[in-house]
């Protein structure tokens, strides 16, 4: 079954909820190896998204996704702002005119979205960034059968994402602010990879409704 517009709106809504809930936790993660603002940034961004959403809720999927991207882009700031902004905007472009999202559509969406992160941030696997999560997740999603229901595909990607997040812990950061810490960045999960896991978890939940 493809993702409906109601499910997409539920996904966005759940992300807003989780970033309010995890604001302090994400900020603490960022305090350890960054500048203690990632949770604040994500919370500010999704609060703004919720403000904007009513103006496009009756539009098609890409219009909604683009609004999410543009709003994150103009309200999150820092490194994660343009990364997530690009993620949603590039993803939107892959869904031209669609009103629901099949598994095949989701593959195209995610490939474009993750491509946006790579293009903007130029992370490599092992740099200890959100891409350390999205790289394996994208691979898992692309490997799925186009005929498999989207909910199943996302559910199957979740353990991959969890493992990927855990795998960032022993890494020494080579991108972003954490890289200035050198060896002191070892032993902490990456804040951006953590927020990315929340995005996938909330998608899984939204597809249940």
């Amino acid at each position: 079954m493809p993702m409906t517009k109601a499910q997409l709106l539920a996904w966005i809504d759940k992300q807003n909820a989780v970033f309010l809930d995890k604001k302090e936790y994400l900020t603490d993660l960022d305090a350890a190896i960054g500048d203690a603002d990632h949770g604040i940034n994500m919370n500010r961004g999704f609060a703004k998204v919720m403000e904007k959403l009513p103006t496009v809720a009756d539009k098609d999927l890409p219009a909604i996704l683009k609004t999410v991207g543009m709003t994150l882009m103009s309200s999150v700031g820092g490194a994660s702002g343009p990364l997530y902004g690009t993620f949603w905007m590039k993803g939107a472009m892959a869904l031209d005119g669609k009103t629901e999202m099949t598994t095949a559509d989701f593959k195209a969406f995610l490939e474009a979205a993750v491509g946006g992160i790579v293009q903007r941030g130029r992370p490599e696997l092992g740099d200890k960034t959100m891409y350390d999560l999205w790289g394996p997740v994208l691979a898992a999603v692309k490997a799925a059968d186009d005929t498999a229901p989207l909910a199943e595909v996302v559910a199957a990607a979740l353990p991959v994402a969890e493992a990927a997040l855990a795998a960032t812990i022993p890494l020494q950061a080579r991108k972003g602010r954490a890289s200035y810490l050198g060896e002191r960045s070892i032993g902490h999960p990456d804040p951006g990879a953590t927020s990315s896991l929340y995005m996938l978890q909330t998608l899984r939940e939204a597809l249940d409704i």
Binding site: G77, S80, R177, Y180, G182
Partner: protein, 352 residues
């Protein structure tokens, strides 16, 4: 936390409102937030735009005005501004000759300014992004996000601002800005921490006799911590870090008109006989009197190493809120740089 503030959420906005009231020669816009010359756009002149997190005042908003920046985009305290600010600001200042974004090398700033450049270019406005990455406390670019942009930013905004005023086109401005960045190196020392208003507590804690060496401008940890030494010893150390710094190579991304192109840049080290502009900066809480003690020793060290200080700047220009401490920037100065360094500037934070 003792500060002259009302609510922590309103700090940046209220400070900008105060600045707008005090400086009618500037226009401050909110939502999105940017500062421009009241007479912008200046027809036919390349427009200079910079920006970054707030908390470094007078940089950047205080450097908007004749002979320096056309616009500045202030983010939240120590947080990069967003592309919409930069985009609107660029549109407001473009006088037809294009827009140069002067970008301090922090991942957030770089990505936001790159996004902005794409948006601006899509409007048919000529645009270029030049990075400032001059902090020698960051040793390599391979295992890090590269050197941070610090003191050289101030000098670049002054020098390239004057060149734009003198009629340089966008490529010439970009070339000059890149050169200034490649000729400039900085090193910073913190005597105390600073407190981000929203955080409410000091970013780090130093003992009563400790200093942090090699800090950036956001209260990031430096290279090491040590007991405070005499100003002569600390100055000599900082100056040596800069003067003895070897060649530095990294890849930067510049706009080629259509898309992004990688460029490998290598900065030559200082050499005996170089003329330099010496910039002794306060981190915000150190008064100018103490900076002159730094300058005194810096002059001696430069002489001993065969460098001649031909111009100088001493004062609080790129700060970290109320942090006590100083940074030193040395900029190799050729005739082109000196000519524009000496040119007039009329801004709230820098007048010549």
């Amino acid at each position: 936390m003792k500060k002259l503030i009302n609510n922590v959420e309103d700090v940046v906005q209220e400070q900008l409102q105060g600045m707008a009231l005090a400086h009618p020669e500037l226009t401050v816009k909110f939502d999105p937030c940017y500062v421009v010359r009241a007479d912008a756009p200046v027809k036919g002149k390349v427009a200079l735009v910079s920006g970054g997190g707030s908390g470094h005042e007078p940089m950047h908003g205080g450097f908007v005005g004749q002979g320096m920046l056309d616009g500045a985009c202030p983010g939240a305290v120590f947080t990069s501004p967003t592309p919409d600010q930069m985009y609107e600001c660029a549109k407001a200042v473009d006088g037809g000759a294009g827009v140069l974004f002067i970008v301090k090398n922090y991942t957030g700033d770089v990505m936001n300014f790159e996004t902005a450049a794409e948006l601006v270019a899509a409007e048919g406005i000529k645009v270029q992004n030049i990075l400032i990455d001059d902090d020698v406390a960051v040793k390599n670019s391979l295992w890090t996000a590269g050197r941070r942009g610090v003191g050289t930013t101030v000098l670049a905004e002054k020098i390239v601002g004057a060149a734009a005023e003198a009629g340089y086109d966008l490529d010439q401005c970009a070339d000059l800005c890149r050169k200034v960045n490649q000729y400039g190196r900085s090193f910073g020392v913190a005597l105390t921490s600073c407190t981000v208003p929203a955080a409410g507590k000091p970013t780090f804690v130093l003992g009563e006799d400790e200093v942090e060496m090699g800090i950036g401008i956001h209260g990031e940890p430096g290279t090491h911590r040590m007991p405070i030494k005499s100003v002569d010893e600390m100055t000599a150390y900082a100056a040596a870090q800069i003067i003895d710094d070897p060649a530095y190579t990294r890849v930067v991304r510049e706009w080629d008109g259509q898309g992004w192109a990688d460029k490998t840049l290598t900065d030559a080290p200082f050499a005996k006989g170089d003329q330099v502009i010496a910039f002794v900066n306060s981190m915000g809480g150190t008064p100018v009197s103490e900076l002159y003690a730094v300058y005194r020793k810096l002059d001696e060290v430069c002489k001993a190493k065969g460098l001649t200080i031909v111009r100088n700047l001493v004062g609080p220009y790129i700060t970290s809120l109320e942090m006590q401490g100083f940074s030193i920037t040395l900029l190799k100065a050729d005739d082109e740089i000196l000519k524009f360094w000496d040119a007039p500037a009329k801004t709230p934070g820098f007048v010549r």
